[in-house]
């Protein structure tokens, strides 16, 4: 069960149960929808971009624990970041969950997002972890819809 406990850590289970920034953001000036047709995970990202910085963001949606916890922690991590910083973090996160980034030996800005490293042992779940990030990226770049297929 060690890989399992690595995947379903307490922090992830907590964010699944009580997702942060889980509401519609009235002040949003960018939104995007994400959908994973394989498993049905879906969400909307609401993003308030001011002077090229993410002043606020939130999400609504439904899906598995990995998806929901990832979306919740993504909103916390990206809030207050510049567009460029948010994109760079997305890149690092993507490399983390696909096993391309060695979080212990390579300098990175991931902070507590490194708990998603366990996802790399479950290749079919990578899309669950990255859907909200792809959708955030789409909202930043004015794409309205994202599909992981």
């Amino acid at each position: 069960m060690s890989e399992l406990s690595e995947l379903y850590q307490a922090v992830i289970l907590d964010h699944n149960k009580k997702p942060r920034n889980f509401h519609k953001l009235e002040a949003a000036n960018h939104t995007a929808e994400g959908y994973n047709p394989l498993c049905g995970d879906q969400l909307t990202i609401y993003l308030q971009l001011e002077a090229d910085a993410v002043k606020d963001l939130s999400f609504e949606g439904a899906g598995c624990a990995i998806f929901k916890a990832s979306a919740s922690m993504m909103t916390q991590a990206v809030k207050g970041k510049s567009k460029q910083e948010a994109e760079a973090l997305f890149n690092e996160f993507h490399r983390l969950v696909t096993g391309e980034l060695d979080e212990e030996n390579e300098p990175n800005q991931l902070g507590k997002l490194t708990i998603f490293a366990g996802v790399r042992e479950f290749p079919v779940r990578v899309k669950c972890a990255t859907l909200s990030w792809h959708t955030m990226h789409a909202a930043l770049n004015n794409h309205e819809k994202v599909s992981t297929e």
Binding site: L4, L7, Y8, L13, N16, L38, G40, A62, C64
Partner: protein, 422 residues
């Protein structure tokens, strides 16, 4: 060339007197492996079932000693291959009690069978303003072809609704049938819910309007005997890989009179009598519908799977499975927080469930770590999920080689899932 029934294959499992499941399991090499340090518990049979040694050996014997192209029989090997392939068709005929072997068309699986009827029958005989009836619990394979047809022909797709238990509302079905109805296409058993539909009754009612009926039998064929003459269905589709044969095998049965007047499905070699650039005359049944070189070894494997089912005894297998499904339903229902999806009075092979506040994919991942294979998702039946207002389910589906101990392992691990998620 004479078509003879192929020789019996050398490996013959002995028919057990009582259901000796451990003896049966030995026939399936895949079942003895370990997954993530645990013995494999394979409960994804409704997606694809495992293949017994006898079927593996038959395919291997074909590839080692008989492989050649069929129906071009001037040489020895081609005759061997043709005999084996046509021998499998004979077995299919007896398996479904068709009145004639030419009514059994080999296809890649139930999906291709349904598409064959859509193209051959639907596109020829269904037009603007006509109606096609399907049900609320169809697999996408029995929805999308008809949607495509209706869009192309400006016909209308009508849907028989179901209740919360997952049973079709037959009064609503009666109300949908009318003189505009040109085809009814309905599942024998729902892949997402396990509901057994009263198809004999439904066929009878459609026939009162002279409407042909296609049955998607993919989830029935692995479990129970089929008698197409008794059902009086016009088409019956099933897949080999869900009934212990290799992928790429399957059958669409059709009444000869209907198949005869239909358009061919694909054009190509083997489906013709004569070809000139001006005109082609099509072959007789069943070749008219089998263009190109088919999946010869897979269909021979399907024949061997039928032999296997006959040897082990279909009725005994069905009785055992029935009891296993009952036991699994009882075990999972007893766990607090688990809700069974699909509670029809008559069910077969499938146990779909959800757990409060835990997504089926998380259930599936945790079960997998214990070596338990289930399907998590919408089961290619998104309208069913929408109707029942759930995003997805976890689905355990059974075969006669599953055991009570495996059901216990499933129940134990489901309890563990609930524990992990607190």
């Amino acid at each position: 060339m004479a078509t003879t029934i192929e020789q019996l294959v050398p490996i013959k499992p002995k028919a057990p007197d009582v259901w000796d499941v451990e003896r049966i399991r030995k026939d399936f090499p895949v079942l003895s492996q370990m997954v993530h340090g645990n013995r494999l518990v394979y409960l994804d049979n409704a997606a694809s079932s495992q293949v017994p040694q006898m079927v593996i050996e038959r395919g291997s014997q074909y590839l080692k000693h008989e492989h050649s192209n069929i129906h071009r029989g001037v040489h020895y090997l081609s005759m061997k291959a043709t005999n084996a392939y046509e021998g499998a068709r004979e077995k299919v005929k007896r398996f479904i009690n068709a009145s004639d072997v030419k009514e059994c068309i080999f296809v890649r699986g139930a999906t291709e069978g349904i598409n064959l009827v859509m193209h051959g029958y639907g596109r020829k005989f269904i037009g603007a303003g006509d109606e096609v009836i399907i049900s609320a619990m169809e697999h996408h394979a029995n929805i999308i072809p008809w949607q495509m047809l209706c869009e192309e022909k400006n016909a209308k797709l009508r849907v028989i609704p179901m209740n919360d238990a997952g049973e079709l509302l037959l009064d609503e079905y009666d109300a949908l049938l009318n003189e505009k109805t040109k085809l009814v296409a309905v599942a024998h058993v729902s892949n997402a819910l396990g509901t057994v539909n009263p198809i004999k009754e439904m066929i009878e009612r459609a026939h009162k309007y002279g409407v042909p009926v296609l049955i998607d039998g993919a989830q029935w064929a692995p479990h129970m005997p089929i008698d197409v003459q008794d059902l009086d269905c016009d088409f019956y589709a099933f897949s080999g890989h869900k009934m212990f044969a290799p992928t790429g095998s399957g059958v669409i049965y059709g009444k000869a009179a209907l198949l005869g007047k239909m358009n061919p499905f694909q054009g190509g070699g083997d489906m013709i009598k004569s070809v000139t650039f001006e005109k082609t005359t099509y072959a007789d049944l069943p070749n008219k519908f089998e263009a190109g070189t088919p999946a010869i070894s897979s269909q021979i494997g399907l024949g061997a799977a039928i032999d296997y089912l006959n040897i082990i005894g279909r009725e005994k297998a069905a009785a055992y499975e029935h009891e296993l499904l009952r036991y699994a339903t009882e075990r999972l229902s007893a766990i607090e927080g688990v809700r069974i999806i699909g509670t029809a009075r008559e069910k077969l092979g499938v146990l779909s469930f959800v757990i409060d506040d835990i997504h089926p994919h998380d259930i599936g991942t945790i079960l997998d770590q214990e070596g338990i294979a289930v399907r998590a998702g919408h089961h290619c039946a998104q309208p069913v999920m929408r109707r029942l207002n759930i995003p997805a389910t976890a689905r355990a589906s059974f075969a006669f080689y599953n055991t009570r101990e495996e059901v216990d392992a499933l129940a134990r691990t489901v309890e563990k899932v609930i524990e992990i998620f607190g």
